[in-house]
């Protein structure tokens, strides 16, 4: 009888994949992120929303240690994936990034063929045993990226020759080729037109059955459409975190209410 309520409750029962406790990030003297605590569930899409400069992208990049490439960035606190501290000295960021894939704001396929774009990750991580194995991996990844049908006849055409939406789906296929467990997406649709955006969102909805997806978006409507849980960031701290439909129909914090109804920037 109460089907809808049952479905929503089911979301709340999935396991925690990423847990962050007391995370602070400093860029030189600027305190970018303050004391963030959040538990991100597996097999769900979690959206980070908030105004520009609120720290959502910074926090996302902590999850796969991309902030290591920036010299003046200092990350403190505890971030665990599958209960393993990713900032432990024994962790190699390169290995971490095979497990935690990333898709960027502007589609950035390598200037190589479509096949090589997808095969690069598995190749450097030694995931394929031979050519036919690699062919399988590439096909699987392109299918999961919902772009196989469009490119299967031209795998050796350059990846940069595709349209914007196709390029982004290629980048998603590239990210899933290394069999990650977590997918981080930094505003993946902001450079795409509405139809391509809708296609990528539909793809994200399919992906959540297999991966833990975390998406940063500056479009609240996108977060509303695509995610099951939403975290609202403001001025570097996590203001509210909860099920998406609750955040958008009846949020707890007045700051969240102001942001989603467009009363603050």
């Amino acid at each position: 009888m109460n089907d809808m309520r049952l479905i929503n409750k089911a979301d709340a029962m999935t396991d925690t994949k990423i847990s962050a406790r007391g995370v602070d990030v400093h860029y030189g003297d600027t305190h970018a992120i303050t004391a963030v605590d959040v538990e991100i569930a597996d097999k769900t899409v979690t959206a980070f929303i908030g105004p520009s400069g609120c720290g959502k992208s910074t926090f996302l990049r902590c999850l796969n240690r991309m902030n290591d490439t920036i010299d003046i960035c200092r990350v403190t606190g505890d971030i665990r994936i599958d209960d393993e501290d990713i900032y432990d000295k024994r962790v190699d960021p390169v290995q971490l990034r095979a497990k935690v894939g990333m898709v960027f704001q502007k589609p950035n396929p390598f200037p190589k063929s479509i096949y090589d774009n997808v095969a690069y990750g598995p190749r450097i991580h030694g995931l394929a045993r031979g050519k036919s194995d690699m062919d399988d991996i590439v096909e699987r990844a392109l299918r999961r990226g919902a772009i196989w049908d469009e490119v299967k006849d031209r795998l050796h055409a350059p990846g940069t020759g595709l349209s914007g939406g196709q390029q982004q789906r290629l980048c998603i296929a590239r990210a899933v080729a290394t069999e990650p467990e977590v997918l981080l997406m930094d505003e993946p649709c902001s450079a795409l037109d509405p139809i391509a955006t809708a296609q990528v969102e539909e793809l994200i909805d399919e992906l959540r059955t297999q991966y833990c997806v975390v998406i940063v978006t500056h479009s609240m409507q996108q977060a509303a459409r695509v995610s099951q849980r939403t975290a609202f960031f403001h001025l570097g701290s996590l203001v509210e975190y909860g099920p998406t439909d609750k955040i958008f129909t009846n949020p707890e914090d007045p700051r969240t209410e102001s942001y989603i109804s467009g009363r603050i920037g």
Partner: protein
């Protein structure tokens, strides 16, 4: 129309429509059962109808919540928005129809202890069946997007109004004939009024369906056949 690119959106809309259809079915059954219990003086059936109204009320709440959620999360426009607004209104109307059916059933318990008033009960049953048919057509029109069917429902309300007029006169006559009939006739009259109101509500629902399909509320005033407000019968009988 083609599907949304986001299949979850289509699924959400279908779920809400399924709920409306379910609610509509329950209300139709309540009308029929209520009329049946009145005719056969079946108190147990009447009690079942009364108890069933709770489910109908819960469904209305559920539909409203679900529609609010879809509006918040999907920011629907154009036809999608009309679907949700109309669905919410339909739920409200159905809930009131259900209440009237419950009312019908409540009075059965009282009427069961009185003697029957000739002829009126079958008329009432016919009226109830008419209204149920209209409701069925309206729900069909909603499901199939058939604005023509909904328009015919609008026209149909006239018949129900005529039946009510006739019943009103009959009751007046009966009450003037034999004062012992007054109690029963009063109750029966309330029931008849309720059924006529049900017909009006179902007509409203049909108009909402037309709005859903065309985007415009039907303008011409529908034919109103209820002239009981000006009916007068003198002592000699008309």
């Amino acid at each position: 129309m083609t599907q949304h690119i986001a299949s979850a959106y289509d699924r959400d809309l279908e779920e809400i429509q399924a709920l409306i259809m379910k609610m509509g079915g329950l209300v139709e059954a309540a009308i029929l059962d209520g009329a049946q219990s009145l005719e056969t003086h079946d108190v147990a059936l009447a009690e079942k109808v009364r108890a069933g109204d709770k489910v109908i009320d819960d469904l209305e709440e559920q539909i409203n919540e679900a529609a609010a959620r879809v509006i918040a999360l999907r920011a629907p426009v154009s036809k999608d928005l009309r679907v949700l607004l109309v669905t919410m209104k339909l739920a409200g109307s159905l809930e009131r129809v259900g209440d009237y059916a419950k009312n019908m059933a409540k009075r059965t318990a009282v009427l069961a202890e009185m003697r029957a008033v000739d002829g009126t009960e079958s008329s009432l049953r016919r009226m109830a069946r008419e209204v149920r048919g209209m409701l069925n057509d309206t729900l069909d029109a909603y499901l199939r997007g058939d604005a023509g069917l909904a328009e015919s429902v609008r026209q149909h309300d006239q018949d129900v109004d005529q039946m009510y007029n006739a019943l009103f006169r009959e009751f007046l006559t009966f009450m003037m004939e034999d004062p012992r009939n007054i109690t029963a006739c009063m109750h029966l009259h309330f029931i008849a009024k309720n059924v006529e109101r049900m017909g009006d509500l179902v007509t409203n629902m049909a108009e909402q369906v037309i709005y859903l399909e065309t985007g415009v509320m039907p303008e011409e005033a529908r034919p109103k056949g209820d002239n009981t407000s000006v009916t007068l019968i003198d002592d000699e009988g008309v």
